[in-house]
Amino acid sequence: MQNDFTHNGIRERRARILIGVVAFLFGILGIRLYMLQIAEWEQYRIKSEKNTMQPVIIQANRGLIRDRNGIILVDNRPSYNISVIPPRFLANIEEGKCNGLLERLGQIVDLPCETITEKLQSPNRHYYDPINLKRDVDFEAVSIIEENRYDFPGVEIQIEPRRGYPIFASPPEISTESSHARHNASQSFPLAPHTLGYIGLINASQYSRLKAEGYRYDDHIGKRGIERLFEDRMRGHKGVKYIEVNAKGREVGIFPEKTDPPISGEDLWLTLDWRVQHAAEHAFADSMRGSLIAMHPQSGEIIAMVSKPGFHPQFIRDPKAWQHLQTDPSKPLLNRSLKGEYPPASVFKMITSIAALDLGILKADEYRLEPCTGGMVFGDRRFRCHNKKGCGTINMRQALVKSCDVFFYQLGLKVGIDDWHRYAAMFGFGELTNIDIASEGDGEARGLLPSRAYYKQRHGFLAGGNMLNLTIGQGELLATPLQIARYTSALATGQLPIPHVIKGAQGGTTSLPLSQEVIKTVRSIMTDVVNSPGGTGHRARLPDIVVAGKTGTAQNPHGEDHAWFVAYAPAENPRIAIAVIVENGGSGGSVAAPIAQKTLEAYFEHALPKPKRTNGLFVFTNQ
């Protein structure tokens, strides 16, 4: 050892050095205090007596949220607040009495006198800071105050930018200009409220944590969704101007050279296309519950993402409406696209098919399995096919087109749970999608992909019947709509993308370790599901474009079946992949497929450059 620590001589030498450091640091403090209080005292005394600047905050515009073409989804509109500077106002009223000035003001802002006096006692403020009595008042109240401003000492009108949601009743021309004429809070219903989120008044604990970053106790802050996730980028930087006040707090001048203009927040560009989003939200009636996700399959860019029922972000300011939203049994605040977990049902049958094809268990056109007679006995139970009359002797192609359950019971048993699990995991089931807005934002659900180990742990053993349920996408199996949309993209391209909503976010894809032949076969079958006569997905057909897809009808012990539909188009060169679920909607082919069809239609009508027409079909070239 270099130093004998316990030897006091060395300790004391080191202690002397530390005392030196302390003395040095306190010396700096002492000298600086001497300079301020003795050497420069005169100068500071004059400053404290005569000047006294008051800062007045200039709010910054929050960054706008735009869709992929620059169309504004969320912008700012001016709103008016009636605020009071307590010391100036209180000097003019009789304490404890509700008459005269206080009563008049109470009538204008529609608040009882007690509430006003209570608000004026608010602790978290500087002495001469104005306190907001009422925010976002109507124009009538503003004009009454303005006309009688000398009767209301200490009462001020302040302008504050507020979030506005343009109405998308009919498709506007592409223009990146903000148009205030389109705003009307009572009529507009903003697009994608779950994704965009909303802002609200900062709460007490957020304030005490964030005040060092320039938040004030009555500021707005992103509370959910993108508004919360990108709060730092979008909030901008407040400006300030300094007014000169005398010791009584009256304004006597302004310091123009000290004005610091506000800096607007950054705009945020999304990958959403408002026209597709709009069409999807309209096709999906608000009385329904469910989700729709449309994705660019090669890049993982989300083109539209709907969760129903929706909500209006401005309801957060109305306590009653807010209460209603939170207690509504249909959970309008839940983002079903990322957090809803459903049994994927027949949509999942492609997994069993791919496993069987890739492992060489069965070819697409082989008639090797037992015929379907409307059900199958396994163990001591009879497992039914949704087609009670039976599907007869069929091959894999016909089984997927008709969505025959008995065929897949048999195929599932041949594949076995371990291989089935391996192929399902390839498509990302049971794992987070890592969509860019989830991990730091509102989160996403993982779903559940049961494996042999899962059953061992839960029940002690794996029953054969479990596999029968899994292979038709039922049983313990759960997936989020986003996972299903990503799976559809992977079927369309052979690549598993990372979904994202922010333009320019890191995407990236993983190649599936499957032979091209397998993917090709499954894709040709999915084309048949929509286009062959009697195919379950025929309601998703488009006149000029070949759509490929698959229906699903998830049994639900608590009520009506959930309706699923997944699709991608054009079948030969996919540009869009889509997944739709309607909770308790009934059959996938009749309820979910038409919603997908309308969304696809909007995409091909608006969102793509017009393709050349050849041989009656549109042909797209890969960009």
């Binding site: 306190f26 205090l33 301020l36 209080q37 005292w41 957020q206 970053e213 300030v240 950054e266």
Partner: protein, 406 residues
């Protein structure tokens, strides 16, 4: 532990009196800071602070009677617990504290003390060879963990407390100053990285000292590599990886004048309050800066400015002398204590106090960034006061058992 020892030679009466005086000055100033001229009365926060003080004394006495052996034995467990709380507060709490109704529990406060304990325990091990680089690694990792967690909250000020902690502890444990220079060289390089000549000077200095000291080749190359990485990566990250708002946050941290509304305004007003106090001050309850509320955060972060405005340079020096006395007591406790763990703990605790005092007062007079670190014993706030009382309880405990080795 015999409780009757308290009143006799085993109570460090000087330290105890100084703490009481400090808290008394604090409560008086909080009363003044919340006093309203128009209403002619003060808010109720000084009463709350009195309640916190009573609770603080209870915490102090409890800390005093727990055998030091137990702090030694449970150092790692206590550290693990508080770090777990730091993780939980990020995930479940409000990022910085748990909201428990009337009180907020701020785990980073307790983590300061447990980190001192765990470092002291590691360095107290008698055969620790501090001439070898590898002896520095575990303590560095032990402080890095809370630094990262606190930084994520984000609470830059408290993160800096943790990072400063290791230097005096290594020094007290016997590390050579040159090795300590190597230790902080990446931080120095980071500061110099934005100015070419300073960077060259820094690199030359580092190489020079390396040649003089001749550490093992492996250690020297790792050290150079780290410094070069910092020098190259820092400007790149600044230019390409940081958003404007992030850059602005760092710049205003370093130079409050840039933020005219927030930190800059606070510092200007604080300097006016202090400067206008003069030699004798404006008198109790007479501070105009305070009463007209030009000075923000006057009962917490800027409480020192209120003292300076109302009691002048005399009041300010009284507080400085009080703090010097407290630090001197802590240091002499560290010198007198036979036990190596206790001695190192005392040094660590003194460092926490010194850092808070210097950064807080430095902030009010405009020579330190605005970090939000409170002034020990004086600033309003329950969590901080109780932590500081526990800290003092530990010091008093060490003093009482200074002849005991275990």
């Amino acid at each position: 532990m015999n409780l009757s020892l308290f009143v006799r030679r085993d109570l460090d009466i000087g330290l105890f009196t100084a703490i009481c005086l400090g808290i008394g000055v604090g409560i008086t100033t909080i009363y003044s800071a919340s006093y309203n001229w128009d209403l002619g009365l003060a808010g109720n926060i000084y009463e709350k602070q009195i309640i916190w003080t009573l609770l603080g004394f209870v915490a102090m006495v409890i800390t005093m009677v727990i055998p030091l052996k137990l702090f030694y034995a449970f150092a790692y467990i206590l550290y693990g617990l508080t770090v777990t709380l730091l993780i939980l507060v990020l995930e479940l709490g409000d990022r910085r504290w748990f909201d428990m109704g009337p009180i907020n529990i701020q785990p980073s406060e307790f983590t300061k003390i447990t980190t001192v304990l765990v470092l002291a325990r590691f360095l107290a091990y008698p055969n620790r060879d501090l001439t070898r680089a590898r002896a520095f690694v575990p303590p560095l990792l032990l402080v890095l963990l809370p630094i990262l967690l606190v930084f994520k909250q984000p609470d830059l000020g408290t993160a800096l407390v943790f990072s400063i902690l290791i230097l005096p502890l290594f020094f007290w444990a016997g590390a050579s100053p040159i090795h300590l220079f190597f230790l902080i060289s990446p931080a120095l390089t980071l500061i110099c990285a934005f100015h070419p000549w300073m960077l060259v000077a820094m690199v030359l200095l580092l190489i020079g000292i390396l040649f003089y000291e001749r550490p093992r080749l492996f250690t020297a190359s790792i050290l150079l590599l780290i410094n070069l990485t910092v020098a190259i990566a820092a400007p790149y990250v600044w230019e390409n990886k940081l958003h404007d708002y992030q850059k602005r946050r760092i710049l205003t941290f370093l130079d409050p004048d840039m933020d005219k509304l927030g930190a800059g305004y606070q510092v200007i007003q604080s300097k006016i309050a202090i400067g206008s106090g003069g030699l004798t001050g404006k008198g109790f309850l007479e501070g105009t800066q305070t009463k007209l509320a030009f000075l923000p955060e006057q009962h917490t972060d800027f409480i020192f400015s209120v003292i300076c405005e109302e009691f002048g340079l005399i009041g300010a020096f009284f507080v400085l002398v009080l703090f010097i006395f407290i630090l001197w007591r802590a240091l002499s406790i560290a010198v007198q204590t036979k036990n190596r763990f206790s001695s190192l703990t005392a040094i660590g605790l003194a460092t926490i106090l010194l850092f808070h005092i210097f950064v807080n007062i430095g902030m009010t007079i405009g020579i330190m960034p605005v970090t939000g670190l409170p002034l020990p014993f004086l600033s309003y706030g329950g969590s901080t006061l109780i932590t500081n009382m526990i800290l003092v309880g530990l010091l008093l405990n060490i003093y009482a058992n200074r002849y005991e080795d275990y």
